[in-house]
């Protein structure tokens, strides 16, 4: 990968936002190197800190909310915090989710809605017991 000044400044912003735990959306035309830059930043960060767990998924029009929820739940554990059960990454670890191809037109709506719920309300309803699980 050739590090131009644009790529460098983008990666600085991406790295900073990941460290601040801010949700990020990366936009650009095809071939501008979105995925490459993100991947190299994630690789750099995971070498720097061992505590980073990665989860990469690619969305398409066939993506289902249930599949995304199952993928997320696979990486999370039930922990007790302040007397309440919270699902979270293993102790001492951070989970970084990279979603490729979040093209808003072709993706199915429930798949995007589950991501919105996770970002704005920090949790999901269990698909079997129907109870709320805070993340």
């Amino acid at each position: 990968m050739i590090w131009t000044s644009e790529a460098y400044c983008c990666s600085t912003f991406i790295r900073g936002n990941i460290q601040q735990k801010t949700e990020l959306m990366i936009i650009g035309q095809t071939g501008t190197g979105k995925s490459k830059i993100v991947r190299s930043v994630i690789n750099y960060l995971s070498k720097e800190e061992n505590s980073l767990n990665k989860l990469c998924m690619t969305l398409s029009s066939n993506s289902k909310a249930t599949t995304i929820q199952a993928l997320l739940e696979e990486r999370l554990q039930n922990q007790r915090r302040n007397g309440q059960i919270v699902t979270m990454p293993p102790p001492g670890k951070k989970l970084l989710i990279q979603i490729d191809d979040l093209s808003l037109n072709s993706c199915s709506e429930p798949a995007l809605e589950i991501l919105r719920q996770q970002i704005s309300h920090h949790g999901m309803f269990d698909r079997c017991s129907f109870g709320w699980k805070a993340t």
């Binding site: 460098y8 600085t12 900073g16 909310a65 919105r116 129907f130």
Partner: protein, 430 residues
């Protein structure tokens, strides 16, 4: 032969059904016409024991005419008999011991404000204010309907609306503060809020396989005492079609009538009249301004790093700069459809990022040069939150506008977009 003991009664307000000739042809139709407002209003007023019946009935007839001609552009208003009833009921609720001509007139004004006025934008509110003032003959005295929307007034309004009806729709754009208003109102009325994003669950997961059995909503209705269940997401086909089921779900599972249903949405464009007539509507708009957002975000993120004087100047300049750049609409064509509030939030996020990454710390001694520092920081933050989303063809326009806001000597040669700020707050190329 048709069994005469079995009758099908099909109440319907949907005109499209008449086009299904085969179905309509099988039935004998009866049309219920709208009864005269005057009679209904007079009857209701008499029933509630008001004295100035003729006068008030006259007000109602004129008010309904006004609503039909002026306010019917608002899709959320259904100015039919239901609104007459709502206003008279509100008058009755308000009148505890007050009777007599003057008291009844002011009751009428207050009821109009509560039922119609609260959800209008400021310009139309003024218009309605003038109309009611002329109608009641108190034009020129203190404005009756005018009320500025503040966070507190919206919270109070939501609490009132929720206590009046079991289902309420909260409308407003993103970052306008809908969720904050809902959470604060629930806190004040000692209720718990459950947020459900109905878009990501199937109908069987939401309502259970058969009506009222296990599902997200039946369990919430059943188990939670005094709770507000908020359906967060667009009001589309699911909500419109399933509202009857939602109500029955509440009725079946609610041993406690304190469970309330709220909808949080950004638009009412797809809501059907039948849904709107059964719910109260609270509009949350314009209570979260750029200044408030920037103040709260900067205070949250930078209080420990930046002296309070510089922080104040920073938030003031940031707000004015953004307003100057964003006020002429469509001045620059943006890659994203970003609202003003979203741009302001990105600005604050960028600033905290800059401070953290370059480990910048401002001390009291920097106060002398505060103007210079603030200029640089704001120019950088604005460029990296708004300028980087401007299409290349309008970028020169953006730079010219930026030069107008800030002094030319503060900006680096070659444009801010190619520069960052170092830990000593000097411009440096990326």
């Amino acid at each position: 032969m048709i069994n005469p003991a079995m009758n099908i009664v099909f109440p319907n307000s949907n005109e499209s059904l008449t086009s299904r000739g085969c179905l309509a042809g099988l039935m004998r139709s009866i049309m219920i016409v709208t009864p005269p407002i005057k009679l209904v209003a007079r009857g209701l007023l008499q029933g509630y024991g008001f004295e100035q019946i003729e006068q008030l009935t006259d007000y109602f007839v004129r008010l309904m005419d006004y609503c039909k001609t002026v306010l019917s552009v608002y899709c959320q208003y259904n100015f039919s008999l239901k609104s007459v009833r709502s206003i008279i009921e509100a008058m009755n609720r308000l009148s505890v011991n007050e009777k007599g001509a003057e008291a009844e007139e002011s009751l009428f004004c207050e009821a109009v404000r509560q039922v119609i006025g609260l959800n209008l934008d400021n310009e139309t509110k003024e218009h309605l204010n003038t109309f009611v003032g002329l109608l009641v003959g108190s034009f020129g005295s203190a404005p009756i309907l005018h009320q500025e929307d503040t966070f507190n007034s919206k919270v109070e309004e939501l609490i009132k609306s929720v206590s009046a009806k079991a289902a309420v729709i909260v409308v407003g754009g993103s970052l306008e503060g809908k969720t904050t208003v809902i959470r604060e109102s629930a806190k004040r009325s000692e209720s718990t809020v459950y947020m459900v994003n109905h878009g990501c669950y199937s109908l069987s997961e939401l309502f259970g396989e058969s009506e009222g059995t296990s599902g997200i909503l039946p369990i919430l209705f059943k188990n939670s005492m005094s709770s507000w269940i908020v359906l967060d997401g667009a009001i589309g086909r699911t909500v419109n079609d399933q509202f009857g089921l939602l109500q029955s779900c509440m009725a079946i599972n609610c041993a406690n009538p304190s469970a309330k249903l709220l909808f949080e949405t950004d638009s009412l464009a797809e809501a059907t009249p039948s849904l709107l007539s059964k719910t109260n509507i609270v509009t949350v708009h314009g209570i979260n301004t750029i200044e408030l957002l920037i103040d709260s975000q900067l205070n949250e993120k930078l209080t420990s790093i930046v002296p309070i004087e510089i922080l104040k100047a920073l938030s003031q300049l940031l707000a004015t700069a953004l307003k100057k750049l964003l006020t002429p609409k469509k001045q620059f064509s943006l890659v994203l459809k970003m609202t003003e509030l979203a741009v302001a939030r990105t600005c604050c996020n960028n600033l905290s990022l800059l401070f953290e990454q370059n480990s910048i710390k401002l001390a009291e001694k920097d106060l002398k040069e505060s103007r210079k520092i603030v200029d640089k920081l704001v120019a950088w933050a604005v460029t990296w939150s708004l300028g980087c989303f401007v299409f290349p063809e309008t970028f020169t326009k953006f730079e010219a506008a930026l030069n107008e806001v800030f002094k030319l000597d503060n900006l680096p040669p070659g444009g801010v977009l190619h520069h960052t700020l170092t830990s000593s707050l000097e411009w440096a190329a990326w």
